[in-house]
Amino acid sequence: MLKTFPKGGIHPPENKITAEKRIRRMTVPKVVYVPIAQHIGIPSEIIVEKKDKVEIGQVIAKSGGFVSSNIHSPVAGVVTKLDMIIDTSGYKKQCIVIRTDVKNESNFEEKEYPLKSQIKMAPKAILQRISDYGIVGLGGATFPSHVKLNVKEGVKLDCLLINGVECEPYLTADHRLMLEKADEIVVGIKILLVALNINKAIIGIENNKKDAIKLFKELTKNEPNIQVAVLQVKYPQGGEKQLVKAILGREVPKNGLPLDVGVIVHNVGTVFAIYEAVQYNKPLTERVVTVTGKKLENPSNFWVKIGTPITDLVEEVGGLPEGTRKLVNGGPMMGKAIKNTDVPVTKGTSGILIISEEEASRGEAKNCIRCGECVFVCPMGLEPHLLMNLTEKGFYEKASNEDIMTCIECGSCSYVCPSHRPLLDYIRFGKNIVKKLQTAKN
């Protein structure tokens, strides 16, 4: 039996159509739009001005607090304006617009970075590097990595989990990265082990990526500290709490963090970014993005500079197909629908999904038939139908007592509901209000 988390979960059609496509380097865009709020926490503070010349990798916005991150210029060029643009959240956010200097060769050189496996730095210095080079969680949550790695004295920590699950349908960014940068990722894991001063790391990979499993098993054969855990294909296994439970059998307490059970989880993309930052002084200015959709001419995986407008990506795969009705930043289960392609790629963009007419519209919501399907699939042991009802009727206190705040918003309930009820929509709404009520109380 393959490992997996015991409660709930679904298995939607995988649709990993880009799994065989090598990651291509995206052409350098003429203009990049770099939002200053690309991570969870306090937005960064802009330290450049209009008309400033910037170099590639130069800090253009510095960390605005403890839970924040530096932002570096993805290109060499000139700051043309500091503007408000709509980003993937759908809100207008401040952003730095940089015109690429087409004459500057540093923008276009495609350096090969040979594998550098010797780790010379001390734990403190590694953490400083991760913090300086703006590394955030690339799995989607974009939590600043140095904060996560900053384990207080006396906290028991014994295991590092590497998340190579990529349970979202369609997305293949992590899968491709694992295949193409496996050696680097293994070195990255060792760097993290040094930084955390522990000696156990486990890479979790779902069984639909057999090539990656084989590769990593091969590579870690002589690494006593690194193991590979093969996991049953089940969504949302990439969720931190589910992953910890699946691999180690430990259950993160309610409202707690993996650290409470002695675990830190990092995504494979993040590990690779950490490798580059520590070994090659490379700030986080690009990432892998899957551009996909059933009707696309040439769905692909790309290395994309942060700030590249999604329009450029869409053109690269053959343009928006006829009948496109939905654009999603991220995967189909947890991604955010965006209004148009003017939005830039940020540190948290793992994929762009283009959905056609047939799949885009939701079914009409019917009466709840109390089939209990949402209860069966909820990985957190909640009762989505009840939470929706309570929220709908305004019983926020009761919803809070029913643990509405522990919902991880994986969307499994809405996915399975045979009556097409917008369960997660209501739960999100309820969570927002409960949060406001709680802050008001304090």
Partner: protein, 336 residues
């Protein structure tokens, strides 16, 4: 870019292809084997009763929703169709047509729509219809045309009691089980379906095929039917082992009197059963215990319908007290 606007909605952006309608029609499909057996045993009467029940359920739902409630008409969702079929399956094949129509009116009008329609009813509509008829017309509701010897279809005139009725009556007159056993169909006959009873409960085999289909299609889970049947077998088994001359053996109990029909099709009704697996097990045990108590010590030979309706009333309570275990609650720290 296409001319149609881009849709913005919250995640998830995909949906499984299951719909309530498909679930309902899956149950209808699962009932086909049992229907075929009843056609074979009861002939055209089985068809007439079922057709009348279906048509009147659909018609009453249409009329009430259109003219009385003035809401959207939902006869296409398969739910009223299913109520009609299940009601018919719980009736004797010789029942006068006007009684079937009244049963349908009670099932749809009172048990379903007066509570607010699909999803809001507390009690299983088909069973409410059946029990209403049973207490209103006890004579007609317990006149069971039986299979004629030599296996041809039934003549209207031949009526008899169901196996459980025979047993109850026999025990009342002081007969022992070994004498009664000669008067009821053998276990094999019960299993295949040559016995007296209501339209849908004839063949245990056909019902099992339908039940397995429902479990395979994931319309229902095993929790309710298996728990219910096992509990019934254990309880009746204990009594039988204590005194085999006074109590029928567990196989007779499970194969007759609508136990299988109830376990797989009536108790598992999505709307009127609990939403958690723990709750389902409690619910099923409750049904089994009440059924056995009614059968062994009550006035009626059969008790599944009453047991299910009684437990239906407990479902909200069960849902409140048997919740799924919240992830991360009440755990021992397990740092190795």
């Amino acid at each position: 870019m296409s001319t149609q606007p881009i849709i913005i909605s919250a995640s998830p952006h995909v949906h499984s292809d299951r719909t309530s309608k498909k679930l309902m029609y899956d149950v209808v499909i699962a009932l086909i084997p049992a229907f075929l057996v009843s056609l074979y045993v009861f002939g055209i009467r089985a068809f007439i009763v079922t057709a009348v029940a279906i048509i009147s359920c659909l018609l009453f739902e249409y009329l009430i929703q259109k003219y009385l409630m003035k809401t959207e008409v939902t006869i296409g969702d398969g739910s009223a169709l299913l109520t009609g079929i299940l009601l018919a399956f719980n009736l004797p094949s010789g029942l006068p047509i006007w009684m079937i129509v009244i049963g349908s009116l009670v099932a749809i009008g009172i048990a379903k729509l007066s509570f607010g329609g699909l999803g809001f009813n507390i009690f299983n509509p088909a069973l409410i219809g059946r029990v209403f008829l049973l207490v209103s017309f006890p004579v007609q509701m317990t006149m069971w045309p039986t299979a004629v010897e030599n296996n041809t279809t039934i003549a209207d005139a031949v009526t008899g009691a169901t196996p459980l009725g025979v047993i109850k009556e026999g025990l009342m007159f002081g007969d022992t089980m070994s004498t009664i056993a000669t008067k009821i169909p053998s276990t094999v006959e019960l299993f295949i379906g040559i016995t007296g009873g209501s339209i849908g409960e004839m063949s245990a085999l056909a019902l099992l095929i339908g039940g397995v289909y429902l479990i395979v299609r994931k319309v229902i889970t095993w929790h309710i039917p298996i728990t219910m049947l096992v509990t019934m077998a254990v309880m009746t088994g204990i009594f039988w082992m204590v005194n085999p001359e006074q109590y029928a053996n567990p196989l007779i109990h499970i194969l007759s009197g609508g136990a299988l029909l109830g376990a797989f099709f009536m108790a598992t009704d999505l709307v009127t059963s609990p939403v958690t697996k723990k709750g389902m097990i409690i619910f099923a045990i409750g049904i089994a215990v009440i059924t056995v108590v009614i059968r062994l010590f009550g006035a009626y030979p059969e008790g599944v319908s009453f047991a299910i309706l009684i437990m239906n009333a407990f479902v909200p309570l069960i849902n409140t007290y048997f919740k799924p275990r919240r992830f991360g609650s009440k755990i021992k720290s397990k740092i190795v």
